[in-house]
C-alpha cells in the first residue's frame, strides 16, 4: 500500500515537472519568434559584444590568494593598502587575509602542513619558517620568486632565509630591536641623551629609578624586560646585552651551549644587582604591561622594535606628540660602539600544497620589493626594507628614526637559538625559568647557568 502511494506521488511529481518544462519551452519559443527579426538585425553587434564580454570575463575571473598570519591584527590599514595595490597591479588576484593570533600561528602552520589545507602565502617570522622547513612544508622560493629580487637581497638577509641551503622564506621587513629611553625621565635625572656604554646605561638606570615616584605616586623603574615563564621574550630581550658583553647562547662553531660563560655570568650579575636594588623591574610582567609602564612615564628604558613608535602613538593617546617623549639608539656596549641587537624579521613563504603558488609568488614579490608597498609599511610601522634598492631610498636614508635601526642591522646580532628552530620554545622556557630563578629566588648564578647549559645541550641533542 505504502509502495503504491509512493509510486503515485513520484508519477505526479514527474508529470508536473514535464508540464512545467513544456510550458517554459512554449513561452521561450513565443519570445524567440517575436524577437526573431530584431535578433537577426543586431546579430553582428551581439556577436561582437559577446566576444568582448568573453574577453572581459576572462580578465575579471579572479583567483583568490589567501595570506595567513597576524598582519591584520596589528596593521589593518597597511593590509588594506597592500590589498589595493596588489589587486590594482594584478586584476586577476583577489587578496584575502586570514587572521591568526601571533601566539597560535606557529602551531597553526604545523597543523596546516599536516592536514594539507594550507594558505597560499604564509606570513611568518624566521623561526616559524625554519620550523616549517624542518618538516619539509615549504616550497623552494628560488623556483618561484624572480632572480632579480633575490639578487636585490643583501647577502646576510639572503643567508638568514636559507634552511639547509634552500631559500624557504623571504624577508619583507627587518626589525632589529633598539633601546628606547624616556627623554622626560632622563632629562629630569640630569641626562641629555641615551646611554652609549654599559656603564652609562647602569648609571642612568639608577638615576632614573632615583626619581622614585611619578605625580600619582607610582614607582618609577629604571629599566625592564618583559616576559613570564614559557615565553620567548626574556632570552630575546636579554640577548643584546649578552651579545654586547661578548657572550652568546651557543658556540657558533661547535654548536654547544655556552650560556655559562663568564660574559653571561657578568650580564646576570648586573641584572640581579639592579633587581635587588629595585631599579630593574617589575618582574615578571607581560609585554603590553611593560609598554604601558613606559607610555605612562613610569619606566626609564625599554628594548623594542621599530613598530614601537606607532604603538606608543596609539596607546599614549598623544599621537605624534608622544615622539618627543623618547630617544632611540642602538644598544650600549662596553666600548660605546653601536651594540649588537636582536634581529627580528617578518618573512613570507609558500607552503607546499598551496593552491595558487604562481599568484602567491607575485604577491610576495610585491611585498618584498614594490616600493609603494614597502615604503607604505615603513611609513606606518617603521619596518626596514629587506631589499637593497629600497634601503637606499631617501625615505629610509633621511629618516633619523629609521637610520637607528639601519645602524642596528649593520652592528649585527642574531635571534637567540636561531639555528635550532624546532627547539626554540623549550630552550626559551628553560632560559626564562633560570633567569627568573636567579632574580626572584636568589638561585646561585654560576650553578644555575651551569644547569641551564646542560639543559640546553640536552634539548638540542634530543
Amino acid at each position: 500500500m505504502k509502495k503504491l502511494f509512493l509510486c503515485v506521488i513520484v508519477v505526479i511529481f514527474v508529470v508536473s515537472l514535464s508540464f512545467l518544462g513544456i510550458g517554459c519551452k512554449e513561452e521561450a519559443a513565443g519570445t524567440e519568434e517575436a524577437a526573431g527579426e530584431q535578433v537577426e538585425e543586431v546579430g553582428e553587434q551581439v556577436e561582437e559584444a559577446g566576444e568582448a564580454e568573453e574577453s572581459e570575463e576572462e580578465v575579471v575571473e579572479k583567483v583568490e590568494v589567501t595570506v595567513f598570519g597576524w598582519l591584520t591584527s596589528y596593521a589593518k590599514p597597511f593590509a588594506d593598502e597592500f590589498k589595493r595595490l596588489v589587486e590594482e597591479k594584478y586584476p586577476n588576484i583577489e587578496l584575502v587575509f586570514q587572521e591568526a593570533a601571533y601566539e597560535e600561528t606557529g602551531t597553526q602552520y604545523l597543523l596546516m602542513a599536516e592536514s594539507g589545507d594550507v594558505p597560499d602565502v604564509a606570513y611568518c617570522e624566521l623561526i616559524m619558517a625554519n620550523e616549517l622547513a624542518s618538516v619539509d612544508a615549504l616550497e623552494d622560493l628560488s623556483e618561484w620568486i624572480s632572480a632579480d629580487i633575490i639578487a636585490d637581497l643583501p647577502g646576510s638577509v639572503y643567508d638568514a632565509c636559507l634552511y639547509d641551503g634552500t631559500l624557504v622564506s623571504i624577508m619583507w621587513d627587518i626589525s632589529p630591536y633598539a633601546l628606547f629611553t624616556s627623554s622626560s625621565l632622563a632629562t629630569k635625572a640630569g641626562y641629555d641623551g641615551p646611554p652609549r656604554t654599559i656603564d652609562e646605561f647602569e648609571e642612568m638606570v639608577y638615576a632614573i629609578a632615583g626619581l622614585e615616584t611619578d605625580e600619582q605616586g607610582n614607582k618609577i623603574w629604571g629599566f625592564n624586560i618583559a616576559g613570564k615563564d614559557n615565553e620567548v621574550h626574556i632570552p630575546f630581550l636579554l640577548s643584546p646585552f649578552i651579545y654586547n658583553f661578548g657572550g652568546n647562547f651557543f658556540d657558533q662553531e661547535t654548536g654547544e651551549a655556552v650560556i655559562n660563560s663568564q660574559e653571561v655570568i657578568d650580564v646576570m650579575t648586573l641584572f640581579k644587582k639592579m633587581y635587588d636594588d629595585g631599579v630593574f623591574g617589575p618582574v615578571p610582567v607581560d609585554r603590553e604591561g611593560n609598554r604601558n609602564l613606559f607610555a605612562e612615564g613610569d619606566l626609564g628604558m625599554i628594548g623594542e622594535g621599530p613598530w614601537q613608535r606607532g604603538i606608543w602613538r596609539q596607546i599614549s593617546g598623544q599621537d605624534e606628540a608622544f615622539d618627543e617623549e623618547w630617544w632611540v639608539d642602538t644598544y650600549p656596549t662596553l666600548d660605546g660602539s653601536p651594540g649588537k641587537s636582536l634581529l627580528w624579521s617578518s618573512n613570507a613563504a609558500i607552503m607546499k600544497g598551496a593552491k595558487h603558488p604562481e599568484e602567491a609568488a607575485k604577491v610576495i614579490e610585491m611585498w618584498v620589493s614594490d616600493p609603494d608597498v614597502v615604503l607604505t609599511y615603513n611609513t606606518m610601522h617603521g619596518g626596514i626594507p629587506a631589499v637593497k634598492s629600497i634601503q637606499d631610498d631617501s625615505q629610509i636614508q633621511d629618516d633619523p628614526y629609521v637610520s637607528v635601526f639601519v645602524d642596528e642591522i649593520n652592528a649585527g646580532g642574531n635571534l637567540p637559538f636561531a639555528p635550532y628552530a624546532t627547539k626554540i620554545t623549550p630552550l626559551s622556557s628553560a632560559f626564562s625559568k633560570a633567569f627568573l630563578d636567579i632574580l626572584l629566588n636568589d638561585a646561585p648564578i654560576k650553578e644555575t647557568l651551569d644547569n641551564l647549559n646542560e639543559q640546553m645541550d640536552d634539548i638540542v641533542a634530543e
Binding site: 602551531t107 602552520y109 604545523l110 597543523l111 602542513a113 599536516e114 620550523e131 616549517l132 624542518s134 618538516v135 619539509d136 612544508a137 607610582n218 614607582k219 613570564k228 615563564d229 614559557n230 615565553e231 623591574g281 617589575p282 618582574v283 615578571p284 610582567v285 604591561g289 609602564l293 605612562e296 613610569d298 624546532t422 620554545t425 623549550p426 622556557s429 625559568k433 627568573l436 630563578d437 626572584l440 629566588n441
Partner: protein, 299 residues
C-alpha cells in the same frame, strides 16, 4: 510470544536507528580522541610531518625524570585541597548570609552570580589587572589602608603568585557553591530548627547539628566537584602567571599545555594527560568508596 518477539525486534531496531546518530557523533568526537590520545602517549610524534614512532613507556619515564612534573603535581594537589576547603567556607558563608531575611535579598542573589556568569578568561584578566604591582586596585587599597607599606608584586613571588591564583579561582567558583547550598537549605524542614530552638540551641549549634547534617550529601558532592574542577583549572593560571614564576603555579594541566602546545611534544603531553586522568579516576573511586563505607552518603 511470537508477536511480542516481533514487537521487541521492531522496537530494538527503531531504538538503534534513533541512537545511531548520537552514537556516531560521540564516537567521532569523544571515543576516537580518547583512544587516539591514549595511543599518542606511547608515541614520539613528529608534528607537522604526520609521522610517529612507537616508543613504549619512554614518555612516562621522561615524566618521572622531569622535576617540573613533581612540582606541578604537588601544586595541583595543594591548589585542589586549599581551593576546595576555601570554596566550602566562602560558599557556605554567603549562602547563610543570603538565606537570611535581608533587604534586596533577590538583588544580592543575582549579583552573586556575576563572577560565575562572566567568561572565565575575562575573570582572569580582571584579576591580572587588580593584582598589578604598579596600577592594581588591590595594592592601592592595601597601601591606603596601611596594611602594606609598598605595593606587592603579587605574581613576582612564588608564594604571592599562589595566593593570587587561588583568590582569582575562588572568586570565580564560589557563586556555584553558594547557589547549591542555598538551594539545599530550602529542603530542610523548618520544624527541625524550631525543635532545636526549643532545646536551647543557638544559631551556631543549629548550623552544626541541623543544617550541616541535613545537607551533608550536597556538601560532599560539591567538594568532590570542586576538587575535580580544580584539576581542570587552566585559564586563571595561564592568564595570570603562565604557570610561573619558575613553575611555582604550574598545575598539571598547564604543564600539559606547555608540553603539547608550547614545546609541541604531543606524545609527552598525552602521557601527562593519561596519568592525570588515571589519578583523578582513582581519587574519585577511593573518595566515594570511603564515603559510602563510612555511611556518609545515604543513597
Amino acid at each position: 510470544m511470537k508477536k511480542s518477539n516481533g514487537l521487541y525486534k521492531k522496537n530494538t531496531s527503531f531504538a538503534l536507528k534513533i541512537i545511531l546518530p548520537a552514537f556516531l557523533v560521540i564516537t567521532i568526537f569523544m571515543y576516537y580522541p580518547i583512544f587516539n590520545s591514549i595511543t599518542m602517549a606511547f608515541q614520539k610524534i613528529y608534528f607537522g610531518k604526520g609521522e610517529f614512532d612507537w616508543i613504549g613507556l619512554k614518555n612516562f619515564i621522561n615524566i618521572f625524570k622531569d622535576p617540573y612534573f613533581f612540582r606541578s603535581f604537588s601544586w595541583t594537589l595543594i591548589f585542589g585541597l586549599i581551593s576546595t576547603v576555601l570554596l566550602l567556607i566562602v560558599g557556605m558563608y554567603f549562602a547563610l548570609l543570603l538565606n537570611r531575611e535581608i533587604p534586596f535579598k533577590n538583588f544580592f542573589r543575582g549579583i552573586l552570580l556575576i563572577p560565575w556568569a562572566i567568561p572565565w578568561f575575562v575573570n582572569a584578566f580582571l584579576w591580572l589587572w587588580l593584582l598589578d604591582v604598579q596600577y592594581g586596585l588591590i595594592n592601592h587599597i592595601l597601601v591606603i589602608l596601611k596594611i602594606l607599606k609598598e605595593p606587592i608584586n603579587w605574581i613576582g613571588g612564588s608564594d604571592t603568585a599562589k595566593i593570587a591564583v587561588i583568590m582569582a579561582y575562588i572568586y570565580r567558583v564560589f557563586p556555584f557553591n553558594t547557589l547549591v547550598y542555598l538551594a539545599s537549605f530550602q529542603t530542610i524542614d523548618k520544624q527541625l530548627y524550631e525543635a532545636a530552638e526549643i532545646d536551647g540551641a543557638g544559631k551556631l549549634k543549629q548550623f552544626f547539628y541541623v543544617t550541616l547534617p541535613q545537607i551533608k550529601n550536597i556538601v560532599i558532592f560539591t567538594a568532590l566537584l570542586n576538587f575535580i574542577w580544580s584539576f581542570q583549572e587552566f585559564e586563571t593560571v595561564w592568564i595570570i602567571t603562565k604557570g610561573g614564576p619558575v613553575g611555582a603555579t604550574s598545575t598539571l594541566l598547564v604543564r600539559l599545555y606547555d608540553l603539547g602546545f608550547q614545546n609541541r611534544d604531543f606524545g609527552a603531553a598525552a602521557a601527562n594527560g593519561l596519568l592525570w586522568v588515571i589519578f583523578l579516576f582513582l581519587f574519585s573511586i577511593i573518595y566515594l568508596r570511603v564515603l559510602f563505607f563510612r555511611g556518609d552518603i545515604d543513597n
